[in-house]
Amino acid sequence: MSLFRTLVFRGLSLFVVLLTVLFLSVIVLGATGFSDRLLTATVSEELRGLRQSLSQNINDPNELERVISDRREQLIEFYGLDQPWYYRLPDMVFRILTLDLGEARTLRSFSGSNRVSDIVIERLPNTLILVTSAMFVTSLIGLYVGVKVATQVGSRFERAVSYFSAISYALPAWWLGIIFIILFAFQLRILPSSGMFSVPPPTEPLARFFDRLWHAILPVFTLIIVSIGPWAYAVRTMVLNISQEDFVNVARAKGLPENLVMRRHIVRVAAPPIVTSLILGLTGSLGGAILTETVFGWPGMGRLYYEAVLAADESVIVALTFMFTLLYVIARFILEILYVILDPRIRYK
């Protein structure tokens, strides 16, 4: 029962995070006059559609103008444009929650739609593929290397890993991506420089899959390199701290084989804090994904951010900020579940 309660509690506090970001964005949008502009654009868009359909039935121009200005009044009242922005807060939050942000100014989805929700939803899977595969590989390799390094403190390998993590922490994802493009795509010519498919894209499903994989190598590799260093170092430090505890000495004194001590007494105990540091690295991974996608022209939500900044498309930017927070909150919640499973203390409470 307490396991369930812990999860509900964590879920609730993550929901508060989501709401905070929502309210923060809405307040900033309102206070800077952006929401007014956004809604006015929506209203005039609707009126334009109305004018077109009405002009076929109503011939008298005065009559047409009267009907349209009536409709405008209604719309302004409906969207709350006649009130100051803070009265519209709840409504605005709801609109963002449902990604109902009207139409993008210049950006289009791949299928040609200009609705913000279509554009964003279409990109979501591409980002998920990139982030999840990079995080999966990173956590596995980092775990392995970190544990291995912790057993050989002071060795040359340990020092090499420390220096590598320093470099990895200092490397900006986008710059590394550029270097990789110059090196692998232009100098060695063995990997594609950008995009998700070759031009023209293969039509056969299997060939499509491999083509996508082929294009994903460089971006995923970039993400791994920039996030693996600090992560392996964190694993090392935690394993090291626990291996100095008394109960580990006891286990060794009992004559247990070293790898059993490592597996059962050290890594098992270090698992919850290791998950915690994975959680802490999550925001970094998302940020890295935004930049990596931008550099590699990977058509995900991160690249969309860059395109939206260039095109000054504010409704897309609002939607993306919300989507990235949502993505973070969901990923975070999955890790929380993992944490609860790994930490027996919560179960026995």
Binding site: S13, V16, V28, Y163, W175, T283, I290, E314, F324
Partner: protein
């Protein structure tokens, strides 16, 4: 407790401590130099002012790249401040500026331009002419311009081009092309139209006329003489400065970008900016984080709950998306970036400091201070803070590159502050211009490398601090 001298020794005994401190010193010296020599509004008046860079070659690689290639034309700026000769004619005066030009590389300049600054006249407007005497003793008449006449109601002396210089790109000028066409027709029998000359005047002036099309002309090597004449009607008339530029295909130590901006100049300005962003942001972040962490841990109760809920929420907000959002909506200003980084940066430290304070609370030294009747604030300030200080200092160092990298990332996404050029912005310009695909490596690699090195300096120092900080934490 080890003395601070021991700590210092331990710090400098590690390779990373030595390397980090040495590099930091170099960076600080460069930053000081920049702060004292660059104008404060460098971003607006120099870097983002295209007029300032008009005399520089565009997208030119560094000059050392062609050290072993003799055919690259070297960029030359010929500047006159006083005439080489003055000839008096009745009612007039001819001021002549001459300079020998040696063409010894088997290539043409990439462009030629003439600019003049701050002209004052009292009577009739001065006339400027430019001609070049070739090694074969032909004189090519290139350009003639009459300085704009007095406006209605304007009184002598008349001042022209005092704020921004008068500049003419001789390579692309139509009147230059028609002058050159006349020269070509006298000299050769070639059928060449004026449109072929526009944009490549320099290929006519310095040519050998060895073929029938301008594209395949080869340069005539030898000694040329540049002759610029000002005919003035009053001897009080003055011209403060005349500049003739032969565009090269390489430039300086780090080349130029597509607007002709000297990349090394921009990168130098980035040194103090990067250090300031990093140090100010991390100092403020650690100050707030530590203060709230100590209060939260020591005071406890409702204060603790409020601070912890607050920092839990803030630390869970993904930084880059919120940064992009806020900067995009409010506007790209550097101070705002720093404020946001501080606002969302402190909670992480607060959570750690609080847990450390909770451990310290039960220690005997704190209990002793309490029993002596020390006030809450005194205990926090005099007894808890000093014990945490080394750890907090390490955190400060460790957080510095995070701020620098965050600003660089934001600039890379096109949200840099246009009034303050940073390394991230220079790199972004290169990326957006397609420098990666065209191969402008001198525009892409150096700024990124500088960001990495700066971040590494602080990571190295933090690494060297770890053994100094950690044993004390274990002894607690």
């Amino acid at each position: 407790m080890s003395s601070s001298k021991d700590n210092l020794n331990e710090f400098f005994s590690s390779t990373s401590g030595k390397a980090g401190s040495a590099l930091l010193l170099i960076f600080l010296i460069i930053s000081t130099f920049v702060v004292f020599t660059y104008p404060l509004d460098f971003g607006i008046t120099v870097w983002n002012n295209p007029a300032y860079w008009s005399d520089y070659p565009k997208s030119a690689p560094p000059s050392w790249t062609t050290l072993f290639n003799d055919d690259e034309f070297e960029h030359q700026i010929i500047e006159f401040t006083s005439p080489s000769d003055v000839v008096k004619i009745p009612n007039q005066e001819e001021r002549i500026y001459t300079q020998k030009l040696i063409l010894d590389k088997n290539s043409f300049p990439t462009f030629i331009s003439l600019s003049m600054n701050d002209i004052t006249y009292h009577d009739l407007p001065p006339i400027v002419t430019l001609s070049i005497v070739r090694p074969d003793n032909d004189e090519v008449f290139v350009y003639r311009e009459i300085i704009s006449p007095p406006r209605v109601g304007e009184d002598a002396p008349f001042t022209r081009y005092s704020e921004s210089p008068f500049r003419v790109n001789l390579s692309g000028d139509k009147s230059v092309a028609s002058n050159l066409l006349i020269f070509l027709q006298e000299r050769t029998q070639q059928q060449i139209s004026i449109n072929q000359i526009v944009g490549s005047s320099e290929k006519v002036i310095f040519a050998k006329f060895n073929s029938n099309s301008i594209e395949s002309y080869e340069p005539l090597l030898g000694e040329y003489t540049l002759v610029i004449k000002f005919v003035v009607a009053d001897e009080r008339d003055s011209i403060s400065n005349v500049k003739f530029v032969l565009g090269g295909s390489t430039y300086g130590f780090l080349g130029t970008d597509s607007l002709g901006r000297d990349i090394s100049v921009g990168l130098l300005f980035g040194f103090p900016v990067a250090l300031l962003i990093g140090i100010i942001t991390s100092t403020l972040t650690t100050m707030i984080g530590t203060t709230l962490g100590i209060i939260s841990g020591y005071v406890g109760g409702k204060t603790d709950t409020v601070i912890q809920r607050f920092s839990d929420t803030l630390s869970n907000i993904p930084l880059l998306p919120i940064l992009i959002f806020l900067i995009f909506i409010i506007g790209p200003q550097l101070w705002l970036v720093m404020v946001i980084l501080v606002l969302f940066g402190w909670p992480g430290l607060t959570i750690i400091v609080r847990s450390m304070v909770l451990q310290l609370n039960t220690s005997q030294s704190i209990e002793a201070a309490k029993s002596l009747g020390a006030s809450k604030w005194r205990i926090m300030y005099r007894h808890i803070f000093p014990q945490l200080a080394p750890f907090i200092f390490a955190q400060l160092v460790f957080f510095t590159p995070a701020a620098i990298l965050a600003e660089a990332s934001l600039s890379f996404l096109g949200l840099g502050d246009p009034s303050i050029p940073t390394w991230g912005q220079i790199l972004e310009n290169g990326f957006r211009t397609g420098g990666v695909y065209i191969g402008y490596w001198w525009w892409i690699l150096p700024p990124g490398l500088l960001i990495v090195i700066t971040a590494m300096i602080f990571v190295f120092i933090a690494l060297a601090l770890e053994p100094v900080v950690n044993p004390k934490l274990k002894n607690m």
